[in-house]
Symmetry: C2
Amino acid sequence: MHGAVRELEAEVGRDSLTVPLIAQRAGVTPSTVYRRWGDLQELLSDVAVERLRPEGAPGDHGDFSADLAAWAEQFLDEMASPAGRAYTRDVLLGDPEGGNAGRCSAYAVEQIEVIVTRAADRDEAAPDVETVIDAVVAPMMYRILFRPDGLDAAYARRLVGRLLGPADQ
Amino acid sequence: MHGAVRELEAEVGRDSLTVPLIAQRAGVTPSTVYRRWGDLQELLSDVAVERLRPEGAPGDHGDFSADLAAWAEQFLDEMASPAGRAYTRDVLLGDPEGGNAGRCSAYAVEQIEVIVTRAADRDEAAPDVETVIDAVVAPMMYRILFRPDGLDAAYARRLVGRLLGPADQ
């Protein structure tokens, strides 16, 4: 079903997707789709959360500050793109229980855990994961949703700089 | 129209609202509603953003740290409540252009501006408004939407404490 949504999205665009169209492409009846997903928004939320899954571990740039800055910059670039915004919106819209939103947040947590663990392996001091979420991930996601101005690489690096303080710059 | 939505929401619940029902209560035809709002989600987004408008200026507690902590605690309490969550969701859902989301963010900015200006009047040092948004408002709103665990008054105060550092506690 995810494949059918992705194909049709590319062919007819996100706004023209309907359950009958998706069902036809997937070779099932619309009622099969409704039994599993309730409505189109729930299906699109499940597809979007898969699209937002990170493709690999964050890069190793030699120290915690560089690792986190590079990851934050890439995360912002992806999430603030038109596709990233549309998927984030879809995740929230078709997800009244918050399961998919939690999954998105868990993706970021997993990536930051890798960066923090790598810092510990190098005997570097690093803030805990939840602090990084508050100081770096949350401002980027808040601004994407509510206040989308000035979201460039410099902003991502500024958040990391503020978290780590001048000594770590 | 806002009054009709509020009345019906109280009587039949948020999930039973329909455009014909709202139009009937407001004494207009459904097409009048559709001409102005496009669909139910857009109407509910406009109603929700009005509900989230702050009712007055933040309280004066004598210094910047106390003012910001008290405001953050109250903001989190309201926004993380079932009603606050439902309105935030409605704002985002019926607002593809982001105008209502921007309005919500502007409410928080205005409140923080009052607190920061009051600090300046007292000759206190205070971070700028956008830094307070990143460090205090964004983590609360991010967690409400994506990661809603442990959202209590202590969390709000911890964010303010982290922003101001041990010297200001």
